[in-house]
């Protein structure tokens, strides 16, 4: 599995950074891109609560990335 070879912490300029933080940033970036696409394709018009969808997507993606680490 992936979590066997992804470290939970790594040194960035001699500072310990949790890999979860990187996962958070990656998820945020991915959602940012996805959000643009969803808005441009008008998906948000079909959804009852667009903000909830967006937040849910983010947490889903973040959890996926997080589970890769742990």
């Amino acid at each position: 599995m992936m979590h066997e070879w992804i470290p939970r912490e790594f040194a960035f300029l001699d500072a310990h950074v949790p890999t979860l933080f990187v996962a958070f940033l990656l998820a945020a970036a991915a959602i940012w891109l996805m959000d643009k696409a969803l808005a441009a394709w008008g998906i948000y018009d079909l959804v009852w609560y667009p903000a909830l969808l967006r937040v849910a997507l983010f947490f889903g993606l973040f959890s996926v990335f997080g589970l890769m680490v742990y």
Partner: protein
């Protein structure tokens, strides 16, 4: 036989009574429903907002406590700073706050790494940084400006504590960053998910009301002068821009329509300016007793005014807008014929009338109709709400709103920010002040946050009221309540009153600053950071520090209150003239660019916020005059582009003379321009240009030159004297 009559009568009465009762009940129900709708529309959003505010703050507090962060109050302070009615605004504000914080932290770490061993270079570098941040907060608009404020403020909450224990710098920086991150995340999450208030409704409301006001103005004319409506339009333009710039993180239509809104704004600027210029021309004709020409122009404009309103009302729905569009298109088509008929009519009835005035007005009118048609087209696109996919395929880009930056007030603000920090730092170092860092923090917040305020003294006064309120509240909560708070729920109960009061005060525009002061002071001082409970010595030291910071920054603001000084206004006039000079000489200047720069200059001068004041009226007058001549000059240059060498040189000479006049306004220069224009016009009207010009080109040149001549000739000698002394002083 039983007599049924009384029973029947009784039944009838009963029925009548019941129906009256029914009516009464229905009436009461209607009233209640009405009241409920009113309540839902007016008061419910406020209550919902207070609820969201509280929820976000408590969530941030819970997470910060759960993660055992050093200063949970920093997370709360972050929530207080970024919370806003609209969720799009919260996300945008958080975004810029995050950027500002990251940059501030990086700079703090650099600063500590370089100068931790010596305080003088440290504070000089810190002062330079604060100066830069203040300047940035003044140059940029809306929440971008906010990012700079935060970059400065972060230096105080990370860099200054780190100087005391340099070996902990990284730890301080990372915990502050996490606390701020927790605050930002809970604020955005709560305002996105709980009762979200969308920007798109605001944007539509502004767009529609702007259209309505303008239609009414165009359809019925302005009864009480043009300055007030023009100022109102200007405020609307910038408000719409503020909304638009915050819409980039929204999920709704606002983001998709961003380019359309921008384009609408630019087109609206153009059409409102042309209308004002035309009305000023008519007024000028009236004041010169050229009534025939003025009447002819008004008669020409009549069909356009009639076209904009439908049964005396501005168009409200899509069909009505289409109808108005068709009417305006018809007006454009018939306009040349109408103008010819009107001119002929004038020639027959009043041969003494100067036709050129009417032609000049006609040129403006056809420009107005063209711009109005373009504005209507974009407005219809926006209001008819086509679906997002169609919007994405709209291939246009509108100009960005250009900025006009006046470096003098920006540098004054930068110096003020830097000096405030240095003065407080000097006090800190001389008297070994335990609360010096807090004082510097508040001093930097006030001097960067209020740098763009049009009336900084009043702002500081309001903010101080909030800070005093916060100090009192902190005393009550630290001494009486916090000592009894043994768990999370009790802690929440202790801080809830302060949070709600802050939220309520900052939700009302009149007391927004009081709310900001209260929130900032309370959460800077509240006693549950390292250890729960009260420490009277620290409390009094901190309160005195906040007061000293306010006094110092108040004194600095009053010493350098640029916007209220008489120079500022003289400088605005000079700069307006400078922009006209640029329009004459600078080849890169376009009409929308010129328009936006002039408006931005006036917007930044702060006059827009005091529409009633006499000097604001003068400023708007000057703005209109500058717009008038600037657009005429740009139109002249557009005509000149297609000319052959000889007339082109003549136009260039005209432009040089006009530029010289606007650079140094004076009677001599005015006479020189007027003489040259008379000479040029006479040459054109004499028809000696035969082979150098087409007659259509000549007509265009004549109308533009005549218009410029009218505007310049209308500037009165005493105005010239006052502006030239203003420029000199």
């Amino acid at each position: 036989m039983l007599n049924m009559q009384p029973i029947n009568r009784g039944m009838q009465r009963l029925l009548a009574g019941l129906s009256t009762l029914g009516q009464g009940v229905r009436f009461v129900a209607d009233c209640l429903q009405q009241a409920a709708t009113d309540w839902y529309r007016q008061d419910f959003p406020l209550i919902g907002y207070l609820f969201k505010y509280l929820l976000a703050a408590l969530l941030a507090l819970w997470v910060a406590l759960k993660m055992e962060m050093d200063q949970p109050a920093t997370a709360l302070l972050t929530v207080v700073i970024v919370m806003h009615f609209r969720s799009g605004m919260v996300i945008t504000k958080s975004y810029y706050r995050l950027i500002g914080t990251v940059i501030g932290i990086l700079f703090s770490m650099l600063l500590v790494a370089w100068f931790a061993q010596d305080r003088f270079p440290f504070f000089i570098a810190a002062a330079l940084w604060i100066g830069m941040c203040t300047a940035g907060s003044l140059v940029y608009r809306n929440f971008q400006s906010y990012g700079f404020v935060l970059a400065g403020y972060t230096l105080c909450i990370v860099g200054l504590p780190a100087t005391l224990t340099p070996w902990h710098t990284f730890q301080i920086a990372s915990t502050r960053m996490s606390e701020i991150g927790v605050g930002l995340l809970s604020a955005t999450l709560v305002s996105e998910l709980v009762l979200p208030q969308r920007l798109w409704e605001n944007i539509q409301a502004v767009v529609r009301s702007k259209f309505r006001d303008f239609s009414v103005l165009l359809g019925t004319g302005a009864p009480a002068g043009l300055n007030q409506p023009f100022l109102k339009f200007m405020q609307d333009v910038y408000q719409l821009e503020a909304f638009r710039s915050s819409a980039q993180f929204e999920t709704d239509d606002a983001r998709v329509h961003s380019a359309t809104i921008n384009r609408l704004n630019v087109q609206f600027m153009a059409v409102s300016t042309t209308y004002v210029v035309l009305q000023r021309l008519i007024q000028r004709l009236h004041s010169r007793a050229a009534l025939k020409e003025a009447d002819a122009l008004q008669a020409l404009m009549q069909p356009l005014s009639a076209a904009v309103l439908i049964d005396g009302q501005p168009a409200s729905h899509a069909e009505a807008i289409t109808q108005v569009q068709q009417a305006v298109a018809a007006f454009q088509q018939d306009f040349d014929a109408c103008l010819a008929v009107q001119l002929q009519h004038l020639m027959m009835m009043h041969p003494e009338v100067n036709q050129l005035e009417v032609e000049t007005g006609g040129e403006l009118l056809s420009r107005l109709a063209k711009e109005l048609a373009a504005y209507l087209e974009t407005y219809a696109l926006l209001v008819a709400q086509p679906r997002a996919r169609k919007v994405a395929s709209r291939e246009f880009t509108a100009d960005q709103l250009h900025m006009h930056i006046d470096w003098l007030p920006v540098s004054i603000a930068a110096i003020r920010g830097a000096l405030t920090l240095l003065i407080l730092a000097a006090i800190w170092m001389t008297i070994d002040w335990p609360s010096g860092i807090l004082a510097m923090t508040l001093g930097v917040i006030t001097s960067t946050l209020f740098a763009a305020s049009p009336a900084p003294m009043a702002t500081i006064r309001q903010f101080s009221v909030g800070v005093l309120l916060g100090i009192v509240l902190v005393y009550i909560s630290n001494v009486f309540w916090l000592t009894a708070a043994h768990d999370y729920v009790m802690l929440c109960i202790v801080i809830t009153p302060a949070i709600l009061l802050t939220a309520w005060l900052s939700a009302r525009p009149a007391t927004a600053l009081v709310g900001a002061g209260l929130g900032i002071a309370y959460f800077l001082m509240v006693g549950f950071n390292q250890a729960l409970g009260d420490n009277p010595v620290k409390y009094f030291n901190d309160s005195i520090a906040l007061m000293v910071a306010l006094v110092v920054s108040g004194i600095m603001f009053s010493l350098t209150d640029y916007a209220a000084s008489p120079w500022a206004q003289a400088r605005v006039f000079t700069q307006l003239r400078k922009l006209v000079v640029d329009a004459c000489l600078h080849t890169g200047m376009t009409a929308p660019g010129f328009e936006m720069r002039t408006r931005d200059l006036i917007q930044r001068s702060g006059s827009v916020h005091r529409p009633q004041a006499a000097e604001s009226v003068r400023v708007v007058e000057a703005l209109c005059a500058a717009l008038e001549v600037g657009h005429a000059v740009l139109a002249l240059r557009a005509v000149a582009r297609g000319l052959s060498a000889q007339p082109y040189q003549l136009v260039q000479r005209t432009l040089t003379l006009v530029a010289r006049y606007y650079k140094q306004p004076g009677l001599v220069q005015q006479q020189a321009v007027l003489q040259w224009l008379d000479h040029f016009l006479a040459w054109l009207q004499g028809g000696e240009y035969a082979d150098a010009l087409l007659s259509s080109q000549a007509r265009k040149l004549i109308t533009q030159l005549h218009f410029i001549r009218l505007v310049i000739a209308a500037e009165l000698p005493q105005d010239l004297a006052s502006t030239s002394t203003g420029a000199a002083s």
